[in-house]
């Protein structure tokens, strides 16, 4: 079973990523690509296990706006860590659509991007093969303070300095 960073702890991941309803047949918790989900939305939502949707870097979270309450996970892919679109997607999920479930970073995820990911509302991380989850966890504590508004701390430093 794949190790997942959830919050700041390591857990076993119960989710399996699948490409079709058939593949999902005997699995409890699955994550499916957005297009597959949209094509058979009713069947996917009728399943008994937990459901997640996998977004590519360029996918628009708005497509999921009506379905978010039924989703346990939204996974956002980073094909390369230098493609920063997923950061905005996560913030929109949290701040515009008020999604409270798991937002999971997948793809090119390693120690040196963890801090930014967490600030943008990611709370689960599948670390890439060339890094280890234990090492990646160190990245969450790179900085002890941040200037801007983020999902983790909506009040920017200048409001907290006043408090």
């Amino acid at each position: 079973m794949v190790k997942l960073i959830l919050g700041s702890t390591l857990v076993d991941d119960s989710f399996v990523t699948v490409e079709s309803l058939e593949q999902a047949a005997n699995l409890p918790d699955v994550i499916v690509p957005l297009t597959v989900f949209v094509a058979h939305k009713a069947q996917w939502l009728a399943r008994s296990g937990k459901l997640g949707v996998w977004l590519a870097a360029g996918d628009d979270a708005e497509v999921l706006a009506e379905d978010l309450e039924h989703l346990s996970v939204v996974a956002i892919d980073f094909p390369s860590f230098t493609d920063g679109r997923g950061y905005s997607t996560a913030r929109l999920l949290r701040e515009k659509y008020h999604y409270r479930g798991q937002v999971r970073a997948v793809g090119d995820v390693f120690r040196d991007v963890m801090f930014y990911l967490a600030r943008c509302g990611f709370n689960a991380f599948v670390v890439r093969a060339s890094d280890t989850p234990e090492n990646a966890l160190l990245g969450l504590n790179t900085f002890s303070e941040s200037y801007q508004s983020g999902v983790d701390k909506p009040a920017p430093l200048y409001r907290r300095r006043l408090a």
């Binding site: 230098t82 950061y87 905005s88 900085f143 303070e145 801007q148 920017p156 430093l157 409001r159």
Partner: protein
């Protein structure tokens, strides 16, 4: 200048620790070259032609004497005793050993400096008017907003991996001395009918491969909304800017392809949700930054200095220097002094450790310990009592910083070019030197009058050649260095220069400059019509004809 508090200091210290770890992991092979490259770029570290190049941020171009001494120390300790001041108010070192860079950053942190986001596809150093705080036509001191934006942009978690680099300029005066029309975002202060302060928001300007003058997407943005509005613009850009082709990835291309109207609509929709949210600027924060800015305690001086008057009457070279290199100050009895880093024979913008130390000492002796870096690659002592100008002049002359050429042809703006930069197609420095040698006669220079000459070694346009009255762009033709000449560009009002014809070889550049100047001197109506005005009035043709229709010059095809 802004003084860090404990939190600002901690954040910079933690950055040093992070980069030390990244460098170690790269050196042990734990991080690959592909992983390390974007990480080191976000600390201004390039791997260049001869060695790494480190670009250190000089936020909005302001330095204390203590900081300049540190820059000298770094040049001496880790480099070959030299630094290069850039067109974006930063400094670059061309020979720092990679494994020592974490130590350099640690040294910088001791004087509240860093190299954060001086490269990479993120929000870069925010730039402004180099006369901020001392200019007579100022509505606000832009440095307060620059600092606000510096903090907002520092490790902004959402915008660290944009499609391409992102540059913001803030102008707080009536005249635009920050080139706000040719930045990704330009903020130009203005007031509404009720007298409230705000910014005109200009988006999508830029030089580089596709020079474009920006578009106003909001005529008036109240100051408290500046950060939420920036968030909205950056979010639209981060999500929709092109990532498939780095030459089409700047925000200017997105604005153009969506149309400015559509882009504006998207930004306004996004902003409607962010407006008045937690990132809205509170007046207490502006007051806090203001309180942490060290301001000179000016003495009450007579508006006219007798010492200065006497020296101007007696000393012709001093008078000449005063005319070119000394600027009016908003406080009576003071002046701002531009130190020319463009003497003939030195690469434009270069300063040695010895010179940096000496300038820092002069800032302490004659000023209030403050130095500015201008985007024309000169240094400025912003607050000098007029009584001290004659003594300061002598000291600067000794240092080689008193060349009276500010605003003149030999005050050349140039990137490091092919001698140092691995992106360059051609060298800039020898071209600049050849031109300076050709126009070494001060009387002739004064006769020519105000002229901005800019040289870039490649399309990336670090030398801002598009907005030079004369622009020179290095191009590669079958492995040979050639130079394309543009004329009629201007920084304010922002205008892009036009190409006069096929590019010419390096040896021909000084001749071409001389021909351009000859045509100008023949065509101008009286001594006050500047080169750029003549180009505007008579067009390219007389210039083109002189250079290309005469048989002596062999030009490359195309």
């Amino acid at each position: 200048m802004y003084q860090y508090d404990e939190i600002d200091q901690r954040i910079v210290d933690e950055r040093v620790a992070q980069f030390r770890s990244q460098t170690q992991r790269f050196l042990t092979g734990e991080l690959s070259e592909d992983d390390f490259r974007p990480l080191r770029l976000q600390n201004g570290l390039y791997i260049q032609r001869h060695a790494p190049m480190l670009r250190v941020a000089i936020p909005y171009g302001v330095l204390s004497s203590r900081q300049l001494h540190m820059l000298a120390h770094i040049a001496r300790t880790y480099d070959r005793g030299l630094g290069h001041f850039t067109t974006r108010q930063n400094i670059q070192y061309n020979w720092p050993p990679l494994e020592r860079v974490p130590d350099i950053l640690a040294d910088l942190a001791t004087v509240q400096m860093h190299a954060i986001q001086t490269s990479g596809n993120c929000v870069r150093n925010t730039t402004t008017d180099h006369f901020a705080g001392v200019a007579a036509d100022e509505l606000i001191d832009p440095r307060v907003y620059c600092e606000l934006i510096r903090q907002w942009s520092t490790f902004h978690p959402e915008f660290a991996y944009l499609p391409r680099k992102f540059k913001i300029a803030v102008n707080g005066a009536v005249a635009d001395r920050a080139a706000t029309w040719v930045h990704d975002i330009g903020l130009h202060v203005c007031t509404d009918d009720a007298g409230h302060l705000g910014f005109r928001v200009i988006v999508g300007g830029g030089l580089g491969r596709t020079p474009i003058i920006g578009t106003v997407i909001r005529e008036f943005l109240p100051v408290q909304h500046v950060l939420t509005y920036l968030d909205a613009i950056l979010r639209i850009y981060n999500r929709h800017g092109r990532r498939d082709n780095k030459h089409k990835a700047r925000i200017k291309i997105l604005v153009k392809s969506l149309t400015p109207e559509r882009f504006q609509q998207e930004v306004e929709e996004e902003w409607a949700r962010l407006k008045d949210g937690p990132a809205t600027v509170v007046p207490e924060e502006l007051a806090r930054i203001e309180a942490r800015m060290i301001r000179p305690q000016y003495a009450a001086l007579p508006a006219q200095s007798a010492v200065l008057k006497e020296a101007l009457e007696r000393d012709i070279p001093f008078k000449r220097w005063h005319e070119r290199n000394v600027h009016a100050h908003k406080v009576a009895g003071y002046a701002s002094v531009v130190l020319s880093l463009k003497p003939t024979g030195t690469p434009p913008g270069d300063a040695s450790a010895v010179q940096m130390d000496a300038v820092a000492d002069l800032a302490d002796q004659y000023g209030f310990g403050e130095i500015r870096v201008s985007h024309e690659q000169n240094l400025i002592l912003p607050d000098i009592a007029q009584d001290d100008l004659p003594a300061l002049y002598l000291a600067l002359k000794e240092l080689g910083f008193a060349t009276p050429n500010i605003g003149l042809l030999t005050n050349i703006i140039a990137c490091p070019g092919g001698d140092y930069c691995s992106l360059a197609n051609a060298r800039s420095i020898p071209v600049a030197q050849a031109i300076q040698e050709r126009f070494n006669d001060l009387d002739e220079l004064y006769e020519i009058g105000e002229l901005d000459l800019n040289i870039s070694g490649c399309m990336n346009a670090c030398g801002h050649h598009h907005v030079g009255h004369i622009g020179i762009l290095g191009v590669d033709k079958h492995g040979q260095e050639f130079y394309q000449i543009t004329i009629g560009g201007s920084q304010a009002p922002a205008r892009i220069g036009r190409v006069i014809g096929p590019s010419v070889s390096q040896e021909e550049v000084p001749d071409v400059m001389e021909q351009l100047i000859d045509v100008y001197l023949e065509q101008r109506n009286g001594g006050h019509e500047r080169f750029v005005d003549v180009v505007e009035r008579v067009g390219l043709e007389p210039f083109r004809a002189r250079i290309y229709d005469e048989p002596h010059l062999e030009v490359a095809n195309g």
